[in-house]
Amino acid sequence: MRSPIVRTAARAISPFLFLAGLYFATHGFLLPGGGFQGGVLLAAGALLILLTHGREKVIHLEEDIDWFETFGMVVFLGAGLAGIFFGGAFLYNMLPGTPVWCITLDIVIALKVFAGILALFIYLFGLEGVK
């Protein structure tokens, strides 16, 4: 798992996974993809580093991803509640005619799924004592 070949390949592939994740997350309203897929790709980029370079390289994100997770949840819930006040229904599209609603929710969902899956793996590896 920790051979130089695997480590170098992971370092080379990981930025492209991040790029693909950002692309899918921000272009979800035009192309196949979306928040979930983009977030999972972002998490896969970080997980490659976690698996090949050890938990220490990613562990400093531990506090941040808890906040990302909560931030994503709060923004999604806030957008839904704002729909009640401005449109009349929960999760109402407040800006008709523009893709702002799609882009915003996609980015929020991508951030949340990225944080969630990364947190899941960091904590699960922590339980097992993987170093």
Binding site: G34, N93, P96, G126
Partner: protein, 109 residues
């Protein structure tokens, strides 16, 4: 703990029966276009308002936004459970090491 042979036969028979019933139900559904379907109304009225070229995405975030919201909540709750478990077990390990007086391990964090 092996299963009884008659039970195995019973379960196989039950599975085959369920599969037959499901296939028959699928064949029995009518595939006619429904004028009063909510998707039809969405396509005619709200699809343009979303401003998204991707039909799937606009359905996912407008017509089925509750579904997406539920997915997000499920993920949140699952991860909250894992984080709580992780912190508790880390604390328990730390206390155990303190009691035993070990110095090795537990340096992450």
């Amino acid at each position: 703990m092996g299963m009884d042979k008659s039970w195995k036969r019973f379960f196989t028979l039950a599975c085959v029966l369920i599969i037959i019933v499901l296939i028959a139900t699928g064949l029995g559904l009518d595939h006619e276009d429904k004028e009063d379907s909510p998707v039809q109304g969405f396509l005619e009225e709200n699809y343009e308002e979303m401003g998204a070229d991707n039909l799937v995405e606009s359905v996912l975030l407008d017509l089925r936004a509750y579904d997406t919201f539920g997915e997000v909540i499920i993920l949140y709750i699952a991860i909250a459970g894992v984080i709580i478990l992780g912190k508790e077990m880390k604390k328990a390990n730390y206390e155990k090491e303190e009691v035993e007086g070990k110095d090795e391990g537990g340096d992450d964090g």
